[in-house]
């Protein structure tokens, strides 16, 4: 795929005059999606998709075209040449873009993660066998992901891996469920079985009689997955420089110094795990680590090259929407293997669901408990709880009411597959929080 992309690039760059610039971004995947319900295959198939985006620039004017390709050099050459010619014609009618910004230095990189071939049919056989006595529903997304960049200045970047992401839930007869995930570059049956066994243990506790909570303030443990949902909401403009400038960031009061989080909270954008490409769609190389919140104070925003131009500030390689792609939160001191004992009396929240803002200015978030949430008494699982709605501001959750963070971090690879398999990830600890407001 790499040779194919760079061959297409060369053909196109020959058609570019010195006064012009062409930027190419390449996104492709070849893989299988195996969807399960009731521990059997519900839908299954293979998807091959190749996407090329051409950004054509003349002086300060630009236009963009995205197209699907066949993967056949001869046929695609004609397609991309036609597209480029169309862009050249259309460009003449467009106004110049004062915020246009692209990499002018050549920073070529390549990341090929070599791993054993993944046999999706073998994995599917093992999955069906492992869940034969359980009610499992979920999806295995598995195969190759490719990302490429090239510009007519001579820079080339390539990112490729073969990976899988198996995301599933196991249901009890009463409708309660445990949600789990196993994602990696190679399938190791012993690791999968270990995760599955942990799920089975939780499933036993879910069989207990449901405990109906009433709206109130509760001491809760938010697992890394639950905390991830909350942090994800902050990514809706919370770390965006542009959102702060226009006043729509949920953390804009924090960046103005009016609020702060607990001093054990450190959040950064960290690309060290290599899951997301390190190159920007305009060719900039992203920093490995960008500190966003340090000791509870807002430190830095993600700044895209476009915002950099608009607000005359140095950018830090963020994409257009200035959203973190690999968020990292430092671990704390609470021993994660003693979390039930530390929680003592409260609610163990494995997952949260369908979050949104109920007061964006004050970073107040609403959402619901889902999958494997328990009432805990005297450090033991008492039983599953009914679905509860919370409505709480981040300044309480990770501020005044934060008791502490666990001493482990969990790496979570995003299993989202809108349009294509996501390369986002997050690495977070769990959080122990007091006075967590349940409203319905």
């Amino acid at each position: 795929m790499k040779d194919y992309f760079f061959s297409i690039s060369k053909i196109l760059f020959r058609l570019i005059e010195d006064k012009d610039l062409l930027i190419l971004n390449f996104d492709a995947e070849i893989g299988d999606y195996i969807r399960f319900n009731h521990s059997k295959i519900r839908q299954v198939g293979n998807v091959k998709q190749i996407t090329l985006t051409l950004d054509f620039i003349r002086k300060k004017t630009t236009i963009s075209s995205t197209m699907r390709l066949n993967g056949d050099l001869k046929k695609d050459t004609k397609l991309v040449e036609n597209a480029l010619n169309f862009l050249k014609r259309e460009l003449s009618d467009l106004p110049s873009d004062p915020y246009l910004m692209y990499a002018k230095e050549r920073n070529s990189t390549e990341k090929l993660t070599v791993s054993e071939s993944i046999n999706n049919k073998n994995i599917t056989e093992r999955i069906i066998e492992s869940f034969s006595n359980l009610d499992m529903v979920g999806i295995l997304s598995s195969g190759y992901i490719y990302r490429g960049f090239a510009n007519s200045l001579g820079q080339t970047n390539w990112h490729e891996n073969q990976s899988f992401n198996f995301d599933w839930s196991i249901y009890t007869k009463s409708g309660k469920a445990v949600k789990q995930n196993y994602s990696d570059l190679t399938w190791q049956q012993n690791i999968f079985e270990q995760i599955l066994n942990e799920g089975k243990q939780k499933l036993i506790a879910l069989e207990n009689t449901e405990i109906k909570l009433q709206p109130n303030d509760y001491k809760v443990y938010l697992s890394p997955h639950a905390l991830n949902e909350i942090i994800d909401m902050l990514c809706w403009g919370g770390f965006s420089y542009k959102a702060h400038k226009i006043g729509t960031s949920p953390l804009h009061l924090m960046s103005k110094g009016e609020f702060r989080l607990h001093n054990t909270v450190h959040i950064s954008e960290n690309l060290a795990n290599g899951i997301n490409p390190n190159f920007h769609r305009d060719g900039f190389i992203k920093p490995i680590d960008t500190e966003l919140i340090v000791k509870g104070d807002y430190k830095k925003s993600l700044i895209s090259p476009r915002s950099g131009q608009e607000y005359s500030i140095q950018h830090n390689g963020a994409e257009y929407h200035e959203t973190p792609v690999a968020i990292n939160m430092k671990a704390g001191k609470i021993k994660h293997d003693e979390i039930l004992k530390t929680l003592s009396d409260g609610i163990y929240i494995s997952n949260l669901w369908y979050l949104n803002f109920s007061d964006r200015n004050k970073a107040r978030i609403t959402g619901l408990t889902r999958f494997g949430c328990f009432k805990v008494k005297d450090g033991e699982y008492l039983g599953p709880i009914n679905t509860m709605r919370f409505d709480e501001t981040i300044y309480n959750i990770l501020g005044e009411n934060l008791i502490g963070l666990t001493n482990n971090q969990q790496l979570m690879m995003d299993c989202s597959t809108y349009e294509e398999r996501s390369t986002f990830s997050s690495c977070l600890p769990g959080a122990l929080v007091d006075g967590f407001k349940m409203t319905l």
Binding site: H38, Q43, G45, N70, G175, K179, E310
Partner: protein
């Protein structure tokens, strides 16, 4: 794609229980002007094919953007491989014998076509709106954009079906934010839900440009307004919030694949079960909900769904009683229930699942003045900006951009951050007035997410304003 190409492809259909080819060709053009500056114009073209096989107890698909003969043959081979592998390993294997030959077409009518207007004229139009939006120093953000989508589908199957459909839609958007004492409030043009199958002339019909001035003034007013009070009260809901209420608490819970458990790992299931159809009282007798793929210009109007089922208008809820789920042919067979033509896929690279099409609340008899004058003490809410509901579609909470208090049957002062919450099963019983056709708006949202692998699709909602009793409303942090 030309007919001779399809003729050639048709010869590839293998001798199996059932096979379909669904070619999709999408064109998208996005033009945006943000804070007075034209953003890079975007053109997206997306072509591919989905091949589905049902054979001897196994199912499989192959989807590819490689539309060469070799590429299509390869995708067919992948589909065959998976169908062979999955034999006797599937949750459900359909009886394909009722599937018949279908032939037909559908084309959106654009009075003034998108292509007739130059990109420069579109940019100038949006720039003009931007100037109107930036009417005060307290306006902190402003933008206007036009998104045009054209989706052509060609479907053929082993029953010799041939269906060609071309849906094109226009989504005009305005966004304006005002800041006052570190409080930012935003108004949008209908919560970005004005997508319709319609021509460029639509922009004049809805006074798109003129709306910019009032939206900017409303954002300024809201930034200075008090918070919505906390109380249980009557609530009048405008169409641009009603569509979310219908979408989340009627549309999704009636999706049959959710009820059958397919979505339990992601989008969730439903408080509705198979036994409720035909008898469950979903809401007051004023509640009439239809699946209506026939309403001209509505976003999900079509003649066939993506599994070639002929589309027709059907009541899902009549006089408050639940009648029929949102389930396509295959789900209907699994559940032994009457269905609608709602088997849809977001693109060529995703298989069909049960989706909303146009899910509409049928108008009642009350004028807008009747609705407001019937409320002694309450609130009128407009334009969704926050949505959250549990995985069973029961406990919901929605937020709106603008609230207006109602006193003694009259609209009075505006309030910011109007939120309300409730439980679906109770909420619809408290529907006490339904607006007439004059209060009705036909709207549509371009992004409804669901499915594994994930799919985002366009759905339409047409609804009047409505009044509900006994609703818990509340504002932001005081």
């Amino acid at each position: 794609m030309r007919d001779d190409f399809f003729k050639k492809v048709k010869q590839l259909i293998p001798n199996v229980d059932y096979c379909s080819f669904r070619f999709v060709s999408k064109y998208t053009n996005v033009i945006s002007v943000t804070r007075g500056i034209t953003e890079p114009v975007k053109i997206l073209e997306d072509d591919g094919v989905m091949i589905t096989i049902f054979n001897a107890g196994g199912i499989g698909y192959g989807a590819t953007s490689d539309l060469t003969e070799a590429g299509i043959s390869d995708a067919l081979e992948r589909a065959m491989e998976w169908s062979t592998f999955s034999k006797d390993k599937v949750t459900y294997y359909p009886d394909v014998s009722p599937l018949k030959n279908h032939n037909g077409d559908y084309y959106t009518k654009e009075k003034e076509s998108w292509a007739q207007i130059s990109t420069k004229d579109k940019i100038d139009f949006l720039k003009n709106i931007n100037q109107k939006l930036k009417c005060s120093s307290s306006i902190s953000n402003w933008a206007a954009s036009l998104r045009y989508n054209k989706i052509e589908t060609f479907f053929m199957d082993s029953n010799d079906s041939h269906i060609r459909q071309r849906i094109s839609y226009l989504l005009p958007q305005i966004l304006v934010s005002a800041e006052y004492k570190k409080q930012t409030q935003t108004r949008t043009f209908g919560g970005h839900a004005h997508a319709r199958q319609i021509g460029y002339d639509f922009l004049d019909d809805i006074s798109f440009s003129e709306k910019s001035i009032s939206l900017a003034n409303e954002a300024i007013g809201l930034s200075r307004a008090p918070n919505c009070p906390d109380k249980k009260t009557k609530i009048v809901i405008s169409p641009d919030q009603m569509i979310l209420q219908i979408h989340e608490s009627i549309g999704h819970p009636l999706e049959l694949d959710r009820i059958l458990g397919d979505e339990r790992n992601y989008a969730g299931s439903s408080f509705v079960n198979l036994d409720m159809f035909g008898k469950y009282k979903y809401g007051s007798e004023l509640l009439n909900i239809t699946f209506d793929p026939t309403l001209p210009t509505e976003l999900a109007t079509y003649n066939f769904d993506d599994d070639a089922t002929t589309a027709s208008k059907e009541f899902l809820i009549k006089d408050g009683i639940l009648l029929r789920p949102i389930g396509g042919f295959f789900s209907g067979q699994r559940a032994n229930l009457d269905t609608v033509a709602c088997s849809r896929a977001s693109n060529w690279n995703r298989p069909t699942i049960d989706r909303m099409g146009n899910i509409n609340l049928e108008p009642g008899n009350s004028s807008f003045d009747d609705l407001i004058s019937s409320v002694e003490d309450g609130i009128y809410v407009e334009t969704n900006n926050s949505w959250s509901i549990d995985d069973q579609r029961s406990k919901f909470q929605f937020g709106c951009e603008k609230g207006t208090l109602i006193k003694d049957g009259k609209l009075t002062s505006i309030v910011k951050n109007p939120n309300y919450r409730g439980i679906t099963q109770d909420f619809w019983q408290n529907l006490i007035k339904v607006g007439n056709d004059d209060t009705r708006k036909t709207l549509g949202t371009a992004n409804c997410g669901k499915g594994e692998p994930n799919q985002s699709i366009f759905v339409g909602h047409s609804t009047p304003s409505c009044v509900f009793n006994n609703v818990e409303v509340f504002g932001g942090i005081k």
